[in-house]
């Protein structure tokens, strides 16, 4: 009897709860999304109104509608450019990821190697890749190869520095535990250091993936197209020369969206990989 009355009380409390499920969604929408959406609409409206009011020419500052119009009419040019840039930056990113992680593991597996080579890695990192890009064009020829190489070089160092930091961040007691079980250097690397470094590696990859798009576009500025079709960077250069400013804006926005998309994708992969164990990827439970 008494348990029953408790149960009915409970259901009553639940139904008395003022917010229905829909209400909750609305609260969340209001709290998280509404502000940014209003800000965006305001921004776009001002952008639309000001050039019209001040009589600014579209080739100086195109209105959002001009940009949209350019994107639609020149879609047959924009879409292939996006595809090319995507391919270049994905290859550049994959190269920075694999080579970066591999080199870090190699360096971290030998103190002598790490001590003697790491300082140079840091110095190399400070060289602006853009400054040496023409050399890369001389070595790899204009076009695709040089662009991918530049994209790779820009994304490479964040991977190395993060991975090395992670591989050296192993908890001291855990290291001793492995020593006590007489684990070999490679077992320690494989079963302790690399998994411990995962959050650091993922952080490095997140930085690297956006940089690889920057690298691809910069690469296209410098290395041209070398006979092939051009990507977004090339399209931007051409649009600038022809004063097709609305199309230039469309290319720029496409590049930005690409960067955001790539970042979200890598973040998702990182989240899935770290989900089962690492706190940085965990939501705080109540």
């Amino acid at each position: 009897m008494s348990t029953q009355s408790v149960a009915t009380k409970k259901t009553k409390i639940v139904s008395d709860f003022p917010q229905s499920n829909e209400g909750k969604i609305w609260t969340k929408f209001k709290g998280v999304y509404l502000g940014p959406i209003i800000a965006l609409i305001t921004f776009l409206s001002l952008w639309q109104l000001i050039p019209a009011l001040l009589g600014i020419k579209p080739f100086i500052l195109p209105k959002p509608t001009d940009v949209l119009h350019a994107a639609i009419t020149d879609w047959h040019l924009l879409w292939p450019a996006i595809q090319i840039t995507v391919i270049e930056s994905i290859i550049g990113f994959l190269l920075s990821a694999t080579i970066g992680i591999f080199v870090s593991i190699l360096l971290a597996s030998s103190k002598v190697l790490e001590i003697s080579i790491y300082p140079y890695a840091i110095i190399l990192q400070t060289i602006p890749v853009v400054a040496v890009a023409p050399i890369i064009v001389i070595w790899f020829g204009a076009g695709f190869n040089a662009i991918v190489t530049i994209s790779f070089l820009i994304g490479f160092f964040p991977v190395i520095s993060n991975t090395l930091m992670g591989l050296n961040s192993v908890d001291k007691n855990m290291g001793e535990l492995f020593t006590l079980y007489n684990a070999s250097k490679w077992k320690k690397m494989w079963k302790l250091r690399i998994p411990s470094a995962m959050p650091y590696i993922m952080a490095g990859l997140k930085v690297s993936c956006t940089l690889s798009i920057v690298g691809a576009i910069v690469g296209e500025y410098v290395a041209g197209i070398g006979g092939g079709k051009g990507g977004l960077g090339y399209a931007i250069t051409v649009a600038a020369i022809q004063l097709k400013t609305p199309y230039l804006f469309a290319c720029g926005i496409a590049a930005a969206l690409l960067g955001i998309g790539f970042y979200l994708l890598v973040s998702l992969v990182a989240h899935l990989m770290l989900r089962s164990w690492h706190e940085s990827a965990m939501k705080v439970e109540k």
Binding site: D171, N173, M174, E176, L177, F178, T179, L180, Y181, N182, A183, K187, K191, L192, P195, M198, S276, W277, H278, E279, M282
Partner: protein
């Protein structure tokens, strides 16, 4: 060589000076026999961990000798599964399940036989975690993590368990249940246990012998044989003999520090 065939650990005139100049241990002499539950009791910084780490080969004596099963600690670590270490923190790998954490020592020693997995499950059952084989460490409470850590230590069937303040970070109630369970495991497995603590009650409740230490420099100040019968239940804490032993241990701790203060 050793005169006593049951001798498992011997410290012979062992001193340890860290390269910072700290004298962590000075002329430490102690013999531990098979099957003992011996506690190292002393204030923080008196060299308890240093002594324990020497037995595990994680720290080397500046002078004197440490022998484990008649060999050097390094040899024991490299060639046998005879000793296992439990740290104050559970030190579990967060990306491995409870069962995989317990299997780690066997994996590192290069044996992944099916029988080992069965034994690991058996050990987890012994520490009361049968229902958590596939849970991840973050899902466990502090006490449960420590149980996994103890299970991992037992998984390779060591002859000796070294424990460095394993229960110090736990709340009193959890600590007491773990103490009782540890005694049961000790009696069942017949291992030798070297247990570091700064808690007088814990030392008296668990140990068959207590090595009381004093600090600056770290020294052995006295040995107390605790003649309370096993198995011990929690209620033993209210017995007169138990409280007498607590008094004795507390006094020798005090005396060793007074002696130090008088110079």
């Amino acid at each position: 060589m050793s005169t006593n065939p049951n001798e498992v650990v011997s410290f012979q005139n062992v001193s340890k000076v860290y390269n910072t100049g700290t004298i962590a241990l000075s002329q430490f002499d102690l013999t531990i026999t098979e099957g003992e539950f011996i506690s190292f009791l002393g204030p923080s910084g008196c060299g308890k961990s240093t002594a324990l780490r020497m037995v595990a080969g994680l720290s080397e004596a500046t002078s004197g000798h440490v022998q484990v099963f008649g060999k050097t600690p390094k040899e024991i670590i490299q060639k046998t599964n005879d000793i296992a270490f439990v740290f104050q923190d559970a030190n579990l790998l967060p990306w491995r399940t409870v069962l995989d954490n317990v299997l780690l020592p066997l994996e590192l020693r290069g044996s992944t036989k099916k029988s080992h997995k069965e034994y690991a499950i058996e050990v987890l059952e012994m520490v009361g975690l049968k229902d958590y084989l596939y849970a991840y460490p973050r899902e466990l409470s502090g006490g449960m993590k420590m149980r996994v850590s103890i299970a991992r230590a037992l998984a390779a069937k060591p002859k000796m368990l070294l424990m460095d303040e394993p229960f110090a970070a736990l709340d009193e109630i959890t600590r007491q249940t773990l103490q009782v369970d540890l005694l049961n495991i000790w009696q069942k497995e017949k291992t030798t246990i070297l247990f570091v603590t700064h808690n007088v009650y814990e030392a008296v409740f668990l140990s068959s012998r207590i090595a009381v230490m004093s600090s600056r420099p770290g020294k052995l100040s006295s040995i107390i044989n605790v003649n309370l019968p096993f198995p011990r239940k929690l209620q033993v804490r209210t017995d007169k003999t138990f409280t007498d032993y607590v008094d004795i241990a507390a006094h020798s701790l005090e005396n060793s520090s007074i002696r130090r203060e008088l110079g």
